[in-house]
Symmetry: D2
Subunit: 332 residues, 4 copies
């Protein structure tokens, strides 16, 4: 029931505020004697790093230290603790807004729940926290890779514009930034070569856990599996995936039937809302309930979808590894 722990067997616990000294993650339930490719983990972190075009100019070098769980590069079977220092803290940027709730942000709800006014405290709701998820996801991917399972993602559209060769996600996001606005986006995440049998009905189903993992990412407002929202408009004759001796001949199910993987690719999509931080004046109230105008300064992504792909992949990887381990116990 630890609120900052994700997973059941392969678990990870993140800690750290964006404006504190460091963020980190403790990964537990890791099989022992596995040689961990730390370079791959660094590459994954680089994928989520802001400071690239179209994303927040804040620089995070994201160098990690491993404080436990490895000996001569191999997993011990004990918890692995990664720590990443927060080097580039500029909390001054936030001062002017600190007692006014920023629309679309968690300031209001954190205040109601935890009774802090100063939202530097609420820094857990920052994207900075996802460093730990990406690290855990990279570890999970390394394990899954040895079973042939791979995970990738792509951005389908940014705002109402489809991503194409000419319209890169970065270009589309910058358009919003130039209007002092932000924009949402849609990402597809896909896992290939997932064996059939993963998922534990009826309350720890694969689809339910994926939905939880992805909806729990900041800014995600919908999760679809397979044909997703379109399924509501379909007929049974269209939606049912026929079987041939070569397997399923379509994948409306998105690789999941009855909460269990069916051997087809796992296919899921998430909608991300626009970054709530925008440089335009907005109506709000302060913590005393009085009307106030707020303009959010600081360095912000105009579009969180740009770097959410690696985070969503990470969460999916952790879910799949967890179910892979759980499924071992179903065989006597």
């Amino acid at each position: 029931l630890a609120f900052n722990t994700f997973g059941r067997i392969f678990t990870f616990t993140t800690w750290g505020e964006s404006h504190g000294p460091a963020v980190g993650v403790v990964i537990d339930g890791v099989p022992s004697n596995f040689l961990l490719d730390l370079d791959f983990i660094r590459e994954e972190l680089e994928r989520r790093r802001p400071g690239k075009q179209g994303t927040s100019p804040r620089k995070e070098t994201d160098l990690f230290e491993v404080l436990s769980g490895l000996h001569e590069g191999k997993t011990l079977g004990t918890p692995i603790c990664f720590v990443v220092k927060n080097k580039d803290r500029k909390s001054g940027d936030y001062d002017t807004v600190s007692h006014i709730y920023r629309p679309g942000h968690a300031d209001f709800t954190w205040h109601r729940k935890f009774h802090h006014v100063d939202h530097r405290g609420g820094g857990r709701s920052s994207a900075r926290e996802t460093v730990g998820r990406v690290i855990a996801g990279a570890v999970a991917k390394l394990f899954l890779r040895t079973k042939g399972i791979s995970i990738g993602s792509k951005i389908l559209h940014i705002g109402d514009q489809l991503v194409t060769d000419e319209n890169s996600p970065e270009k589309l996001a910058l358009q919003a930034k130039h209007e002092n606005d932000s924009v949402g986006g849609m990402i597809e995440i896909r896992a290939e070569k997932v064996p059939p049998g993963l998922g534990e009905p009826v309350y720890d189903r694969l689809d339910a856990r994926i939905a939880s993992a992805l909806m729990g990412i900041n800014a995600v407002k919908s999760v679809e599996i397979g044909s997703g929202i379109a399924s509501a408009s379909m007929k049974g004759t269209q939606h049912n995936d026929p079987l041939s001796s070569d397997g399923f001949t379509s994948n409306n199910a998105g690789g999941i039937l009855g909460g269990i993987s069916n051997g087809m690719p796992i296919l899921t999509r998430i909608a991300l809302k626009p970054t709530p931080s925008i440089s335009q004046e907005q109506n709000s109230i302060n913590h005393l309930g009085q009307p106030a105008k707020v303009t959010v300064k600081g360095r912000h992504d105009p579009c969180v979808a740009l770097r959410a792909g690696v985070i969503a992949e990470a969460m999916l990887a952790c879910v799949l590894l967890d179910f892979f381990l759980l499924n071992k116990m179903r065989r006597w």
Copy 2:
């Protein structure tokens, strides 16, 4: 980690196969000394009962027995066990298809996971299991009601047709049945007067848990919160909900910010795929992998959305009550 247990503090465990002697639910974590209105639970069960127009003609009287946890009508604080007998079993209907995987069904994945060929065994993936969810949800609603929280749902569209005064969901569903087909649907679920502060970031967020609860219902293929999938196409200036001294002036967030309720109505939508059982011949394989044709006989809803509303409400009620109890611990 019990796979058939839902929730963390207010929990319920369902058991029973659709073709076994009974189904039931054990509800735990119930505050004591609460007078339970059993008639309300019966009414909720009646709402999910098939056998009405447009739904499966199978009759389930759904009379329950309470075997524990109540004394003179009041909760003891101990587990409450409800048992509902399966009176109307006709497993004969299933015999012809029993070793051919029915497209869109969980037969294939249950076989791969649990190694049963006879899908009478796999009866946990039947809608019959949801009797327990509806009972637990009714209990949760009774508690929430005393805090002023209410939960309702409505069907937005059936297939590609909007529900209107003229086009009732039942009528639209029957159209599909007359074509020997089935059809999907979209449901909105809404909770009113939810206090701010419910949800436990960063991995037990309210939105993440709702997504899990709803995606875990059979046939659900997408879950949206607030403006949901539309958020991906929006700008920050459109999506951010401004605050005034009277509270939020719009609800794109669907009542949740940073994984915590914000005091606005909780708003969520689910897309349900068409019932996979259709009376037309479909291509499939048998359990030996040989091609086979299958026509699903038996009594089937042409549209699962017709009675999924009460199930979705039940899951949302259980999630909200759970977080309500959890939130008590945040105050020292």
Copy 3:
């Protein structure tokens, strides 16, 4: 976090009050396709049944019904629900004491926690609840048996008298009964052929979980592993178990080192307090805090140790099966 659920992978949930209509258990996490020997379960229930010499004269026939989870005698991998009706309820016996706290009983604490005055409600603290434990334990034993693991127990002493060929436990217990008194006892439980490697340090250790499982049995006031309490008085040269090429040459560790099984027999002992129900007048108070005398009528075991062996074995079996399943995940 379900309070009435035991275990992590192989789990069971008990429900039912001693004075309600039935007690039962829902067992989850059971590997599928396992032929379950129901006769063995009946034999185990017979071992815990009161009504034999030296134990409570209350007759419990303990016939169970299986309502789910089995198909043609084999496990489906779904929850197995066992129900045992309460046939021999005589709540009248309890009436005279119902608002006076019985010394040594849970009346006082259940009232303080759950705010019931009538202790018929508190019937979960009755030994009757252990029916479910014995059933779950019998299921676990059947699985463990296929791996060669067996579990047994014996009573070492009753009160201050050693059990011998001449002094059977029943005979010693009857002596106390003849004095209108009750008496405690000490039981040793032993598991043979447990493979090394079971247990998950550092907080889900085998010894910690055994301690929890056994201390959680009514009336147990101490749990020892291996040389137990005597270890405190020993020197390292005495206590350390040397290793030879044939394995350990002694077993002060009781089969557990660092919270992990070492391949030697698991050896544990529990001390049970005397049955608190005695036919002598005792000083107490009523629920208003006023002094009152109480003499407990009804049918009571003079010594709970007589039938606690099978319950303790059951709990140990469930713990071992759980760790056996968990250990499968440690191998990649």
Copy 4:
């Protein structure tokens, strides 16, 4: 199910090997806005620090850094991460024995479970890990103190010698050291002013959780509650604690009835085995199963009981705080 996480609501997760760069703890479920007295935490760490007379000469300065969860000294309600560097690593001391199993140590079982030969890897089973427990326990004590609950411990005997004014624990432990031996000990832990009602029957009972928490401490081989092992030899007339209008007039129950606190002091005792590391030659085998002699060098406590009191108190404090928070949910 995170194996290195303890607790249900107030939880802590420890990480770190004794021969790695650091050890640490992440504490979650902490109520927000609580001013944390870090000096008290330092004092508690000082109590467990080795290097005092009669304990291991290894010097651990145990200076911690707080990396998250606090803002201006107050809890944020987010996870608090404490890191303690390992400054005084001398792994050379261990080299000669590294492939021979040390009797009484976890080398053998860690090898069987995790497949490491080099026991530097297995450093989680070291007493060093308890730094995190003491920190979490100190945090819990600070919360409990505001409700008037206090926790203390004393050493009752060392080996077969009672602790007296003349015979301090340190003096008795040194006697064993002079004989190149080690010695066990018995500790009593006591919590005062615990309110009635803590504990969640029937599987999350207060006594069961205490047993788990204490048996999970290295070297503990028995846990007793109240009159403990002596209960087995008692009659009901002796053991039952009578009630008067002033409350219980004796405390054989050790403050717990039916798994729930009864308002009397919680009283528990643990037996600790002698430190397995001794400077005498012992019979063992190496990891290939060949007979070998082993003499354990390095710096070792002759008696782990000397500094186990503060660890046991810490575990008890965490258990009590957890149940205190859980109990809030029982009131509707």
